[in-house]
Assembly symmetry: C2
Homo-oligomer: 301 residues x 2
Amino acid sequence: MNTATFNIAAVERDTGLSKDVLRMWERRYGFPVPSRDNNGERCYPAEQVDRLRLIKRLMDLGHRPGKLIATPQEELGSLTSRRSKPAVKDASADDGELGELLTLIKQHDAAAYQQAMLQRLARQGLQRFVQDTVSPLTRQVGEKWEDGSFEVFEEHLFTELTKRLLRQAIATLPGGPRGPRVLLTSVPEEPHVLGLLMVEALFALEGAECIPLGTQMPLLEIGRAAQAHQADIVALSFSLAFPQRQIPGLLQQLRLVLPEKTALWAGGGGVTRIARTDDAELITTLDDALAALANWRAQHA
Amino acid sequence: MNTATFNIAAVERDTGLSKDVLRMWERRYGFPVPSRDNNGERCYPAEQVDRLRLIKRLMDLGHRPGKLIATPQEELGSLTSRRSKPAVKDASADDGELGELLTLIKQHDAAAYQQAMLQRLARQGLQRFVQDTVSPLTRQVGEKWEDGSFEVFEEHLFTELTKRLLRQAIATLPGGPRGPRVLLTSVPEEPHVLGLLMVEALFALEGAECIPLGTQMPLLEIGRAAQAHQADIVALSFSLAFPQRQIPGLLQQLRLVLPEKTALWAGGGGVTRIARTDDAELITTLDDALAALANWRAQHA
DNA sequence: TATTTGTTTTGTCCTAGACAAACAGGACGT
DNA sequence: ACGTCCTGTTTGTCTAGGACAAAACAAATA
C-alpha cells in the first residue's frame, strides 16, 4: 500500500522539519538519504519519513539530533523518558480520577468522553473544572503523547472535544463587562488554543470582557486589533512545542507595535523557561493568570 | 513606534511568502530591497512588509506578482476587483439581510453578533441556518476581506464567534449513530475549519456519526485515524486560499494510505476548479455534500 | 467558438559556504 | 557540594546564484 514517496515539501509538511534542516542533516549526518527522481530531486520513502517523525518527537522531548540519528532504529522507541526532571509525581494521584477520561479517548469513544466531562463540569463548577480537570488532563495527554502511548489523531480528538466543552461553557456565561478588556490570541506558527480557552473561561468567570480572536494572528494585526478594540490587555499563549528561542524576540517586536497603555501578557507552557523581560508579563500557571488579573484591577481602580 | 525591522523569517511568518520567494523577488524584480545588518542578513522595514502583505492579498485574488510589483503603491489599493468572474450578483439580494450581521462584526460588537445569530438559528432551524446564513455570510466575509473592507483581525473575530455558534448547535444534537461514520479533518497547511463545521452540522442532522479531528492532520495520521475509527468516509476541506496545485497530489497520496473501503471526499471552495479524479469524490457545495451522503446510504443499504 | 501550440512568468528545488546562538563539559572559586 | 565562568562543539538558519518544470498567458489553428 505504501509505494508512495514524499518530496521534500511533503516531508516538511508531515514532520515539521524545515527543508533546510532536512538537507543539512543529509549533508552532516548522512541521514536521511532519499533517492532522487529523474529531475535530481529528493524522494523520501515512507519508512524514512516515519523515522524522522519519531526523531522530531524525541527532539521536542529534549534529546539532541546528533545522538538520535546515530541511534539504531530499535533503540529509539525506548528513549521516551521524561522531559528532563522526573516530573511532579503528586499528579499521579489524579491518574485514577482522570485515567478514566484518558481511557475513553484511547478507546475513541467521543460520546462517552463528552458525557463524563459534562458530569464533571456540573459537579465541579467551571472554575474548578478548568483548574482541576481540563488543565491536568491536557498535561497528561501531552505526556502520553510524548511517551508514545497516544497517537497524534487521538490527541487531536481530545483537543477538539475539549475545546467544544470549554466554548460551550463559556457561551453560557453572562457577558458582564466590568473588568478589563482582554484580547486573546496567539502568534503565527502557534496553533494551540486550549490554553487560551482555559484562561478565557477563568477571566470570563471574573467578569472580564474577553475578545477571542482565535490563533495565529500576524504581529501587526494584533496591534491593529488591540487599537480597534481598545484592549487593555493582549494575552498570548505559547505551547511547550513552540520554539522557545523565538519568544523573546516576538514579545519585543509585539511590544513595539502595541499602544503604550496596552499590557502584554504571555502565558502557557512555552514561557516557563523564558527570562523575565520588560516587554511582557510572563504567566506560567492559571493561578498566576488570576493573580495578574486581580493585580491589574487593583492598579486601575 | 515602528522602529522595528523584520528578519526574513519574520516576514515569511507575517506575509505568508516563503523565504525562497522573497529572495527570488529581490533578485528578479528588485523588490523588496531590505537593508542588511552587520551580519549581512536582510532587515525588512515595516513599510515594505505592509506592501508585501497587500501584494500577497492581491495575488490571492488572482493578480500576478510581476504586475503588482511594477505598480506604484498608490494604485495598488484600487486594484481590489473581483476574483475573476463578476460573481453571482443574486447574492447581493441578501446583502440587506446579512448586511446587519456584517455591520456588527465591523463594529466589533461580539455580543450583539452572537445574539443576532442565535435568533436566526432559532428562527431558521439548524439546516437552513447553515445553508442560508452561515454559508453565504462566510462567503461575503471572504469577499469583504478580499476587497479590503475587512481587516484580518475582523475576519478572525467573525470566524471565532461563528465557530462557537456552530459547535454549540452541534453539541445539542442527539448522537443518533445510524448513518456512516464520517471522519472530518483537513491536511497540514489548511487551518480553516468553518467549512468542516458546516458539513458536520448537516451530517449530524442526518444522523451520521461525525468524528471531528480538528485541522492539519498529517496524511499518515489520517490513515491511522481512519483505520482506528473504522471510518466509512474521510471528509477533507480545502479553502479557497489553499494552493490548488497541491490538491491532486495530496488526494492521490492520501488515497494510498487509506483502507480500500474508506471513501475519500474533498470539499470546500478550493476544489471547485480541480479536475475530476478517481482518488476522491469532489464536493463543491453543501447540497452536494447532502446528496453524496444520501447516495452513499443508497449504495450501502 | 473551442482547442492546440508556443512563450513568458513564476515558484520550488538544488549545491555549498558561513556564522551565531545554544549547549555540554570542565575549571575555577565560594 | 554547589554555582559561575569559559571554551569547544553542535545545530539551525542565513546567503548566493543556477536550473528547471509547471502554470498562465498569447497566438494561431481547426
